[in-house]
């Protein structure tokens, strides 16, 4: 998986591409956390339109970033998940705590 983060006026967009599983989530977590802590964005949008596979490791990845963003006074949103990924998101009930567009 690769992540490309762009930031403008307090909103950061992290474009994620590839597959999210337990293996790839580890590096994604480190990369996103380092950005959040250093840049303190008001909103972090995880653009997941380029994610072709995600298991429940992705739920842990989103929940952890939501928690960190909240601690830093910001918020997290998830953008553009493909249908298969949307089904995992729905199953987890994460839509109740994270905005999914």
């Amino acid at each position: 998986m690769n992540i490309d983060i762009k930031s403008e006026k307090g909103t950061a967009i992290a474009v994620l591409k590839g597959e999210i599983d337990h293996h790839t989530a580890k590096t994604a977590r480190a990369e996103l956390d380092s950005f959040i802590i250093n840049m303190q964005p008001e909103i972090l949008a995880m653009d997941m339109s380029g994610i072709t596979f995600m298991d429940s490791s992705g739920i842990g990845l989103i929940m952890g970033r939501q928690k960190l963003m909240k601690e830093c006074g910001g918020s997290l949103e998830v953008r553009g998940p493909q249908p298969g990924i949307r089904r995992v998101l729905r199953l987890s009930g994460i839509e109740r705590i994270v905005k999914i567009i």
Binding site: D21, F53, S56, S57, M63, G64, P83, R87, V88
Partner: protein, 145 residues
């Protein structure tokens, strides 16, 4: 059990092999001509079972994961993921949604829920100190439906 076709493979419990397991299972299943959604369900369920073996079964240690995939009559897929790791003392508790013993790794506790939702039948046999065997079955929709 009448078996129309079968593959078996074994791999060390390295997290980098999670994607290899998904790829191997889906390339075998493609012969049954599943829908995109069915294939995605199976890939996700396999990924959860293999990740459980790596994260929980062989936690802090390493071992082998044996995977068997069978194509059964009436377009039924059988998948078995077996480890010889630490086992699960309380399978019922482990299967509760959101229950996890690895929160520091950001495990959401949804692995078994995903396996249960994305397949038709899930069975978990485990013995502490001997390992865990997860068996899943999923019937593919009839052709043309």
């Amino acid at each position: 059990m009448e078996i129309l076709n079968e593959i078996r493979f074994s791999m060390p419990s390295l997290s980098v092999n999670e994607s290899a397991a998904r790829a191997a299972v889906s390339s075998f299943i493609v012969q049954a001509d599943p829908t995109v959604e069915e294939l995605s369900d199976i890939r996700t369920a396999v990924s959860e079972a293999v990740t459980n073996a790596i994260v929980h079964g062989y936690r802090g240690t390493s071992g082998r994961i044996d995977i068997t995939v069978r194509l059964l009559p009436e377009r039924e897929i059988y998948i078995r993921v077996k480890d010889t790791g630490c086992g699960i003392a309380d399978v019922k508790k482990a299967m509760e949604p959101l229950f996890t013993t690895a929160p520091e790794e950001e495990r959401s506790g949804l692995g078994f829920s995903v396996m249960e939702s994305f397949t038709d039948r899930l069975s978990v046999r485990s013995e502490p100190g001997r390992g865990t065997t997860v068996t899943m079955r999923k019937k593919l929709a009839a052709h043309g439906s």
